[in-house]
Amino acid sequence: MEFTRQEMMAVATGREIRDGDLCIFGVGLSMLAGYFALAYHAPNAKAMTEGGVYGSTPVGGLPWGIEDNRISANATCFTGALDALGFLVASGRCDLGIIGAAQVDKFGNVNTTGFWEDPTSPHFGPPKTRLTGSGGANDIACGCKRVVIMLAHEKKRFAEKVDYITSPGYLDGGNAREKYHFVGGGPVAIVTTLGILRPDPVTKEMLIDSYFPFSSVEEMKANTAWDLKVSPGVKVTPEPTAEELKVLRAVDVTNVLKRT
């Protein structure tokens, strides 16, 4: 079966969605993974955006933004951010959020804010590289029952400590989230370009749960800056089926996967 790394990543992320889930997606690859799932195995899942577009599917290609015309053409409800991120995410009603990351650490904390020359300095000067900030990702990380993080598996992105915690994972691990009384459960998976990491049930350290058919435990470890541990039940991620690929490519009418 011919498929790209990005297609494997999108299908693997999509499989995290269960039929009937209330979901919230970011733009780009996470939205593609989400709408693939809705079109393939989760027809009763519901999708919404951070600004309050409900019940729509993209028209004419993947949206430029979560508020644009392509995601607004066939919506069943327009409300606002207080409704979407407040009443539905902060309340704990939202089952699944998919967020992107520029950098992640071993407890699933996400950085999308920036990179600094010396991120440990007590002085918070201008970043060496400014990224996008939270958007609604911090809210999703705090409130959604399950969070899936997507990012490229590269050593500089898989850091012992992130430069800036934009969206909390399990913080220092264990039950650290309890101190903040977060409604949501934290990240259930980090889907990378090489495989899938899932948290240890007790320590909450992210472990290799499976590796993609074209990858290996060794390759994942070699591209991670911390000593990445392996889950006892580690396995190969099932490759995308012909039917999955057909549906994914139909959703990706503007060829996002070829550009990423």
Partner: protein, 330 residues
């Protein structure tokens, strides 16, 4: 109620000043945003703006590139699929603009708290992350205790965060349609335009269409900003360009990219200013600048049916010109 139609240039000179706390709505990277109002602020040379917004937009990108603002409080600093905002990046990485990070829910709650004149809003988000512990405005306070201070729930004893409320001096909000008095309906998601219109001391609308008040009497449930909140209404079709206005026009892909590219350098920003800000004065000249081909392209989108119920109340250019003469500002 009075007719509050106002010319773009007059609205900027009358309601904006250097150093003010300013906000725009929807405050979005691709969607609804008062972009043309921001261009006029650049033309009139405003400086020292403290900008409160949900997200970066081409207005924020322009303000950062052109040195209009020196402080921004926002949840998001990119242009979504259009990429990183080059003007913002340059200004923030050089330290010329201080960018204070929040999230989309915390900005929403800050506007809500401002609207209700609450002292603060309890936060269940942004706590336990660097959004709480790091502050661009207080760079030597680490971990920062005064950006989102701890607050104890008096009922349970649990510790949460206290979000400061947001009270812009002026909010300039893009709406799909308004009547001459400032009753407004928007198509697409409102994000926090409802809360922002109530948090700000003064509100100006920038409307793609001016409609008869009979439209509001037909759909009063849809009027999310009523006239009593509004100071003035600027009729300006395509005022969110190159961003989109759901139900009317799409984002202009070519110009979104070209504008962001130009804002990536000082020289490009000067070129942008000469070509897209200083070169026009009237709405006709503005439309000529966008160009017939681009207008045709952005008008051809999948959402135009959303505007259908309202078309019979839309005022023509001739009617708007006449109404402008009857305005309290004329």
């Amino acid at each position: 109620m009075p007719n509050k139609l106002i010319a773009l240039q007059e609205a900027v000179s009358r309601y904006t000043r250097d150093g003010m706390v300013y906000s725009s709505g929807g405050g979005l990277p691709v969607g609804s945003e008062s972009v043309v109002f921001g261009k006029e602020m650049v033309r009139q040379g405003r400086k020292g703006i403290h900008y409160l917004t949900h997200c970066c937009s081409q207005q924020v990108n322009l303000f950062c590139a052109a040195g209009v603002c020196d402080r921004v409080e926002a949840a998001f600093s990119g242009l979504e699929v259009y990429g990183f905002a080059n003007g913002v990046r340059r200004a923030v990485e050089s330290g010329r603009v201080l960018w204070e990070d929040w999230s989309n829910l915390s900005m929403t709650l800050r506007f809500l708290g401002g609207a209700l004149r609450w002292p603060f809003v309890p936060a269940t988000v942004n706590i336990g992350s660097d959004n709480q512990w790091r502050s661009a405005f207080k760079p030597d306070e680490y971990p920062c205790k005064s950006k989102i201070p701890d607050v104890t729930d008096p009922f349970t004893g649990k510790v949460y965060g206290a979000l400061p409320v947001a009270r812009p001096e002026l909010a300039v909000i893009h709406v799909t349609m308004s009547d001459v008095e400032g009753n407004a309906i928007f198509l697409g998601t409102e994000w926090s335009r409802f809360e922002l219109a109530r948090a700000a001391d003064k509100v100006i609308l920038q409307a793609d269409f001016i409609v008869d008040t009979d439209c509001m009497r037909q759909y009063p449930n849809l009027v999310r900003i009523p006239d009593l909140l509004v100071e003035a209404v600027i009729p300006w079709q395509f005022g969110a360009w190159p961003q989109c206005s759901v139900g009317v026009y799409d984002s202009d892909e070519d110009h979104m990219r070209a504008m962001n590219k130009m804002l990536g350098t000082d020289e490009g920003t000067r070129e942008f200013r000469a070509k897209y800000i200083d070169s026009w004065h009237t709405h006709e000249e503005y439309l000529a600048l966008i160009g017939k081909v681009a207008i045709e392209k952005i008008m051809n989108n999948a959402t135009t049916h959303l505007m259908d119920p309202y078309r019979k109340w839309v005022k023509s250019d001739e009617e708007i010109k006449k109404l402008m003469k009857e305005s309290k500002f004329s």
